[in-house]
Structure formats: structure tokens, C-alpha cells
């Protein structure tokens, strides 16, 4: 069960002290930026070659005048659940 509590902050006059399950949530913000992304789907004969593709994709690539590095591979990966059935895909992870 999550307990969120807001009381007067003893360290900062007039500020509110917020905590969740006893953890103090600081009165600040994350600063983020505009970026560009592309989603790619890679299919391979088996996991070995899929891994090889992922490893290669993780290498730096030239993007305009700068070098860019794909930041993550985060996709639902499928494999053929029954290779003889053809087209019947099950969730891999």
C-alpha cells in the first residue's frame, strides 16, 4: 500500500514536504530535450543472428555531421511458435 504524505517542510520555510512510503520526494524537476527517434523491426533466422543484428545496431552510426549511438533496443521480440505452421507467432519475451 502506498502512503503519500505532505506536511510542512522543516528545512524550507513555507515549502511542502512530500514523501512516499517514507521516501522524500525533492522539490525539483527533470529537464528533458527534444530528440528524434526511429523504430526498427529486425527479423532473423534465429536468436544467434538476431543478437548479431542487435550488437551491430549498438555501434555508433554517422548522423548528419555528428556521431550518434542508438540509445536502446527495447522492443517486443517474437519468434515463430510453430515453425511448421508458418505465420503463427508467439511472444518471445
Amino acid at each position: 500500500m502506498m502512503a503519500i504524505r505532505a506536511t510542512a517542510d522543516p528545512e524550507y520555510r513555507g515549502a511542502v514536504y512530500v514523501e512516499i512510503n517514507g521516501t522524500r520526494i525533492e522539490d525539483t524537476f527533470a529537464e528533458a530535450f527534444r530528440m528524434r527517434y526511429v523504430r526498427l523491426v529486425v527479423t532473423a533466422h534465429d536468436e544467434h543472428w538476431l543478437d548479431a543484428a542487435f550488437t551491430t545496431a549498438s555501434l555508433p552510426v554517422k548522423s548528419g555531421s555528428r556521431w550518434a549511438k542508438p540509445s536502446a533496443i527495447s522492443a517486443t521480440v517474437f519468434k515463430r511458435a510453430n515453425s511448421s505452421a508458418g505465420g503463427d507467432f508467439g511472444e518471445f519475451q
Binding site: 512530500v18 512510503n21 524537476f29 527533470a30 529537464e31 528533458a32 527517434y37 526511429v38 540509445s71 527495447s74
Partner: protein
Amino acid sequence: MDGEFLIESMVHVEKGVGGGNIILQAATQLEALDAARRAVSAIEKLPGVITPFPGGVARSGSKVGSRYKGLKASTADAYCPSLRGRVETKLPEGANAAYEIVIDGVDEPSVAAAMSAGIRAAAGEGVVAITAGNYGGKLGKFHFHLRQLVG
């Protein structure tokens, strides 16, 4: 040479939001890592976001600037427990380890939802405080206020 290779003739590039983050500060390294794992696990269930660092966790977060002219970023030394006393620390009393979770997403609401889920999952015993990294608000277009995210 070995046969057919199929590839789309075109892929589309979209605009997203990069660099959402939370910084978890705990009493011990193990408690910080447990909190980071809980946060990443909660975030990875959400659509439209990724945590780009290995395992979703940055153990050496960065700050803008360095002591070297050609190096634009360096380790966020204010969150390094072993440098306490040598540099101005941002770690609260009782915190001896910190991990950063960086979040990139397809849009602002997706990153906000992920940060909220990460904070709620990470908060708990041993986690002294949760903060976030910013540059004073002057560099990035998107500002995610932690207390609004959990309010």
C-alpha cells in the same frame, strides 16, 4: 551474396522527448540498486518509453561541463558518496549511494507517466530521497516536476 535481403525503402523519423530522469538516493548501495530495479521494472511495462542505459540504470550519471576544455560532460560528482567532503555534495544525510534512471519517450505524457511510475515503485524502505537532474531549466524544453508527478 547468400540470397535475399529485405529492407523497407523508407523509415519515418519521429520527434520524441529525451532525458527524463529520476535519481534514487539510498542508505546503501544494495537498497539503491533494489530501488532502481523496481523503478525500471515498473517503467518497462509502459508504452512509448525506454530506459536507455544497460539494465535501465546509470551508475555514473553525468553533469554538464568538466574540468577539461574539450569535454562537455562529466560525472555528476555531487552524487558520488565517496567524494563527499571533496566536492559539494547533493546527497542528503543518510544517503550513501545513488542511481539515475534515464527515460526517453515518444512524447511528454509518456515520459511523465514513466517518471511517476518509477518514483512510486522505487520509493520505500532504505530510499532516503528521490530527486532529478536539471540544468536550471535553461537548456531543455521539457520540465517534469517531481511533486506534480506524484501529487
